[in-house]
Amino acid sequence: MFKNLLLVGVVTLMTSIWTRFALLLALAALVSGCAQPGSGQIEGDVFDPYEANNRQTHELNRALDKVLVRPVGVGYTTIVPDDLEASIGNFASNLSLPSTIVNNLLQGNVEGAFRNSMRFVFNSTLGFGGLFDVAGDFEINEIGGDFGQTLYVWGVPEGAYIELPIVGPSTERAAVGRAVDLFTNPLSYVLPNPDKYIGTAAGVASKVGDRVRYAETVDSVLYNSADSYSQARGIYMQNRRFQLGDGDAAEEINPFDLNTEGF
């Protein structure tokens, strides 16, 4: 066990060096490739020059959800008992932690990397290979980290809003981050071939389960709102910027300034 962890550590370090390299290349491509908002664009607003294409993808995603994701999710949550479902979710999130740690380190977030490493060690051992979130019981919660966030920390602009097929709402920066994150998980270099897909499968299963868990909310956005595209875009952008710490909830118009007469 210890030997394996050490191996993970070494590989983590190696991939982080390797990714930094790959990144310089990706960055160069990004800076020249990312669409930049024009001078007329208000900061903090959503930059969406590909709206027409995005709306087409949105319709595709909606159709996909209706015929596939939602029904499969309903089947999954009906068949799989709640406890097992939670364990599958824990297992998947534990396996994705090493990638998060790599990104914490790339961002210079040593505290986050430490916390996540503790989580990984606790849950992999006491939590039976990550099936139980023991660390969470001690309030050692995950400090999020993905490569899109790393790019944000490194000062890469957000780029345009894009809705990706299947994956859904994203920005150009986040999309590049997703692609790079396919390679930032050290486990994928350590685990033998069939085993490493178990994590991916568990990840997909837990995402599908989440679709039903938050059915009311997701349905309300996708099917009940007057313009589901702009609603999904707004919600994604606000949440993403909040996770990145970009923008402040306090930037609110003064409630004393609004004319509420008659309401």
């Binding site: 309300s220 007057a226 909040f242 306090a250 008659g262």
Partner: protein
């Protein structure tokens, strides 16, 4: 003890600042303690309704009452209508406010079912400009804790919440987008939008 008095001190500074920026006719002074108290009471009432096991319809009624009691409903309605509010007649505004209130209770009441078995805990309060930001953490079963923020002001003379953020998602902004899209879909017809709000989810 020092913690408490420090908190009180920040509250007092907040109030002092508010006095400078806000009309001096403000009735009840708002401070961190009363802002926290409001959110505590609000959260307590919501939790009680969720735990009551009442029918969905009865729950929506309760949420409607809670929203009216704790929320700055006229501000929320005015914000949601946005610029379209300027061309609305007095009757339209009044009707919209009433319909919007039941719409919100129904929409978010349905959402609260996802919170069953969970709890909200008030974490911190800080003064921002002329209002207070109350940060709470939501603990849901099998879910990493997440942040729910309430903004509280005493614009109306009483402490009321006027906005809410779930993991950064602004409730007011989301509803303004929704109402705006509804108005657009109906060719700018406010009466139609208000009538359809009755069945909107």
């Amino acid at each position: 003890m020092t913690q408490v008095s420090r908190r009180k001190a920040t509250g007092l500074i907040g109030v002092a600042l508010a006095m400078f920026t806000v009309a001096p006719t403000q009735a009840a002074a708002l401070d961190t303690v009363s802002a926290k108290k409001l959110v505590d009471a609000l959260v307590g009432e919501i939790n009680r309704v969720i735990a009551s096991g009442k029918s969905e319809q009865a729950m929506y009624k309760d949420f409607n009452r809670i929203f009216a009691k704790y929320g700055d409903t006229s501000y929320i309605a005015a914000y949601a209508m946005g610029n379209d509010g300027r061309r609305a007649s007095g009757a339209q505004k009044k009707k919209f406010s009433a319909e919007f209130q039941t719409y919100i209770s129904r929409k978010y009441g349905a959402r609260f079912r996802e919170f069953i078995g969970g709890r909200l805990e008030v974490k911190s309060v800080r003064p921002v400009k002329s209002w207070f930001e109350v940060t709470t953490t939501a603990f849901l079963r099998g879910e990493a804790p997440f942040t729910v923020t309430f903004l509280v002001s005493n614009r109306t003379g009483r402490d009321k919440f006027f906005n809410m953020f779930i993991e950064g998602i602004n409730l007011l902004l989301t509803e303004r987008t929704e109402i705006g899209a509804m108005i657009d879909r109906r060719g700018g017809n406010l009466d139609k939008m208000i009538a359809d709000l009755r069945t909107a989810k």
